[in-house]
């Protein structure tokens, strides 16, 4: 069986196993084991030959995303080793959590690996449903509201994406060979000979559909509440993985449609959505009082930035977008880990209740501070590098784009600095405070930050080459 399939089936098999593990400790450890195993498998992909095998493909574009996905899967599993106990879930829900988590990981892998657009669609749908279950896990009204919104909006979105896929097939159907009707490679090859009108229609639906998943404004409404409910681990994987998979799907569609010279340039639409997301999210950050929702909005901001990069297109633009996706996943999940630990410390996720971490729990406080700085795009982390490349590219190609970009970035940094100081500095508010954070939360945070640092200013040669190639693949 080819390696990619293994990578999909292992988590699903794990999910099946976890479904029958009653003891939570054992289940959590098994969860970690499975995640570690699949991470090793993902590493093995580096050696695997690139190209299409059946419904899956392995290329420079999805390889980094896969590695990242399973890395974050592992760190999240380790984190929830310590954290999930504090979520106060009954055994049934706890088991549901573990099952859904592995289900999600497998679907995630499939979504990233898929070459057949239909399969990709199915995988993303499964991942969505799994995450919906995890979001609604607590069953509180707020959780139900978030999950229901998530479910309905993404259900509609995914349906539109399917329609887009079908229309894409309709466009290619006259010129494409039978059987490979939905293969990305094949579609991209023949795209130039398709009817541009149909391609446009297809792209609109794909963009709206997968863009909903990627949380692009104005299709973003589900994201803040979905990431703020459910166990903290969910926030990490949602912002770290699901958004990336959706963005990858958009990229695949863009690559196909963009291959036809006479279509409405897909980059322009993506750019518009990206800039809108940056502006709206940046200013939405100003009035957040809930820490997790704050960083959920910042995920929208960063997805918007990545979309802007891909919308600019070209080697540099795509590289900026890809780098931004990777860096954002690392930094943001690190921050969510930190927030989760802080929430455990204080039993509230309101910013006002979390203050003064640097004094209450210095190790956690400073780690979180650095993490937030990384998310805010301050040096020397990956987001700084990607934003530098993005802004310089925008200035060189569409100077007018500097204004919305700069405005959004400035507003976002202002808001993030405010929250950073509110969370980390000053005297802690008097109130219940548990013991300091343990290694299961600090370890993942530091690991992510170190990786983000390397990704920012000290990327090893081979990976650098890989990313460069990926920028080419994104078209």
């Amino acid at each position: 069986m080819p390696l990619p399939w293994l990578l999909v089936l292992l988590p699903w098999a794990g999910a099946a196993v976890l479904a029958f593990l009653p003891r939570e400790r054992v289940a959590a450890l098994t969860n970690c084991g499975i995640s570690a195993l699949s991470f090793l498998l993902a590493l093995a992909l580096l050696a695997a030959p690139q190209g299409v095998t059946g419904w899956t493909r392995l290329d420079a574009l999805n390889l980094p995303l896969l590695l990242l996905a399973f890395l974050i899967g592992l760190t999240t599993a380790i984190y929830s080793l310590g954290a999930i106990a504090a979520e106060g879930l009954d055994p049934r829900r706890l088991r549901a959590f573990h099952v859904a988590f592995q289900l999600f990981m497998g679907a995630q892998a499939l979504a990233l690996l898929a070459d057949n657009l239909g399969v990709m669609w199915v995988a993303i749908e499964v991942a969505t449903l799994a995450s919906v279950l995890m979001v609604g896990l607590h069953g509180t009204p707020a959780a139900i509201e978030a999950a229901w919104k998530f479910f309905i909006l993404c259900g509609v979105g995914i349906a539109l994406a399917l329609l887009g896929t079908i229309i894409l097939h309709l466009a290619a159907q006259p010129v494409i060979g039978a059987g490979e009707g939905l293969s990305w490679a094949a579609l991209r090859a023949v795209a130039a000979r398709c009817d541009p009108g149909v391609l446009n229609l297809a792209f609109v639906f794909l963009l709206v559909g997968y863009g909903t998943k990627a949380g692009l404004v104005p299709l973003h409404s589900w994201l803040p509440d979905a990431e703020a409910e459910g166990p903290v681990a969910i926030s990490a994987v949602l912002s770290g993985l699901l958004l990336n998979a959706a963005m990858l799907a958009v990229l695949r569609a863009k690559a196909i449609v963009g291959a036809h010279p006479e279509t409405v340039p897909p980059g322009a639409l993506l750019l518009a959505f990206g800039l809108a997301s940056v502006l709206v999210a940046a200013f939405a950050l100003w009035r957040r009082r809930d820490a997790r929702r704050f960083f959920a909005w910042s995920s929208i901001l960063h997805m918007g930035l990545a979309a802007t990069g891909f919308g600019l297109g070209g080697a540099a633009g795509n590289l900026a977008g890809l780098l931004h996706m990777l860096g954002h996943s690392l930094a943001k999940s690190a921050v969510f880990f930190g927030i989760g630990a802080a929430v455990r410390l204080r039993g509230s996720q309101r910013i006002a209740d979390l203050g003064g971490l640097c004094i209450a729990a210095p190790a956690l406080g400073w780690a979180l501070a650095i993490g937030i700085a990384a998310v805010a795009g301050l040096p020397p982390f990956a987001l700084f590098a990607s934003e530098y490349l993005l802004v310089t590219e925008a200035a060189a190609r569409h100077p007018w784009a500097i204004l919305p970009l700069g405005l959004g970035l400035l507003a976002a940094v202002a808001a993030k600095v405010r929250v950073l100081q509110a969370l980390c500095l000053g005297d802690p508010p008097t109130g219940p405070a548990a013991g300091p954070a343990d290694w299961t939360s600090l370890g993942p945070i530091w690991a992510h930050l170190v990786l983000a640092l390397l990704l920012g200013v000290a990327l090893p040669g081979p990976l650098r080459a890989l990313l460069g190639e990926a920028a080419g693949v994104a078209g």
């Binding site: 309905i152 309709l170 159907q173 009817d195 929702r293």
Partner: protein, 222 residues
């Protein structure tokens, strides 16, 4: 298409039937009736799939027809009816947008769908083009229904009829791989299950399915 007018007309007829049913969905006031209309739409969909299978000589479409008949015309409506009975839903549907205006909006949407679909697909076969236009309309009408209905179940119904539109579009295209239809059908089931879970949870927490009552519970409030 090597055939004469007939296949074209029949396919057109069936598609038009689905569109009509979508309008009836918008028009209906009573939940139970809405679900029955949905069932009817599923049945028509099954017929359309079978006809396309015969026209295109694509056996897998018969399977699609079967799935549609079983799931969309049979199981799902039954499940919904059961739910309605279990939850003793109010008979009447409280629409956010009046019936009349929503019908007008529906017509406008159909016009838009036609405007988008007709000119661009000149390359493709006439059949596919007609189907595309109708499918687009059904999808848009399904979304319109989701917007204009307050009741959670009716939102699910809207989603379902939206999916019907999808399948209609899918079967209209020759050579669409089987995986899509099957996965769609499977997922529709899954969606229904998840939706059911949440509907019951909502019911027990808020003893209402009016999603407007959900809004105040969003985290962080206003």
């Amino acid at each position: 298409m090597g055939f004469g007018q007939l296949p074209y007309d029949v396919a057109h007829l069936l598609g038009g039937g689905m569109l009509l049913l979508s309008f009836m969905l918008l028009y209906q006031r009573r939940v139970a009736a809405v679900v029955s209309v949905l069932a009817a739409q599923g049945a028509v969909l099954a017929l359309a799939a079978a006809w396309q299978g015969w026209v295109q000589g694509a056996p897998q479409l018969y399977l699609t027809a079967l799935v549609a008949a079983v799931a969309k015309a049979g199981f799902i409506p039954l499940a919904l009816h059961w739910m309605i009975r279990r939850l003793a839903l109010a008979r009447g549907v409280d629409a956010a947008l009046g019936i009349g205006p929503s019908l007008i909006a529906g017509v406008a949407l159909v016009a838009l769908a036609v405007a988008v679909a007709l000119p661009i697909t000149t390359g493709a076969q006439a059949l596919a083009r007609e189907d595309l236009a109708i499918a687009l309309s059904v999808v848009l009408l399904g979304m319109l229904m989701m917007i204009t209905r307050r009741n959670a179940i009716l939102q699910v119904v809207g989603l379902m009829s939206l999916e019907n539109g999808l399948v209609l579009a899918a079967i209209g295209v020759a050579g669409m791989p089987l995986v899509v239809e099957l996965s769609t059908a499977a997922l529709v089931m899954l969606v229904l299950v998840v939706a059911g879970v949440f509907v019951f949870q909502m019911r027990e927490r808020l003893d209402s399915l009016d999603i407007a009552l959900l809004h105040p519970h969003r985290g962080e409030g206003e």
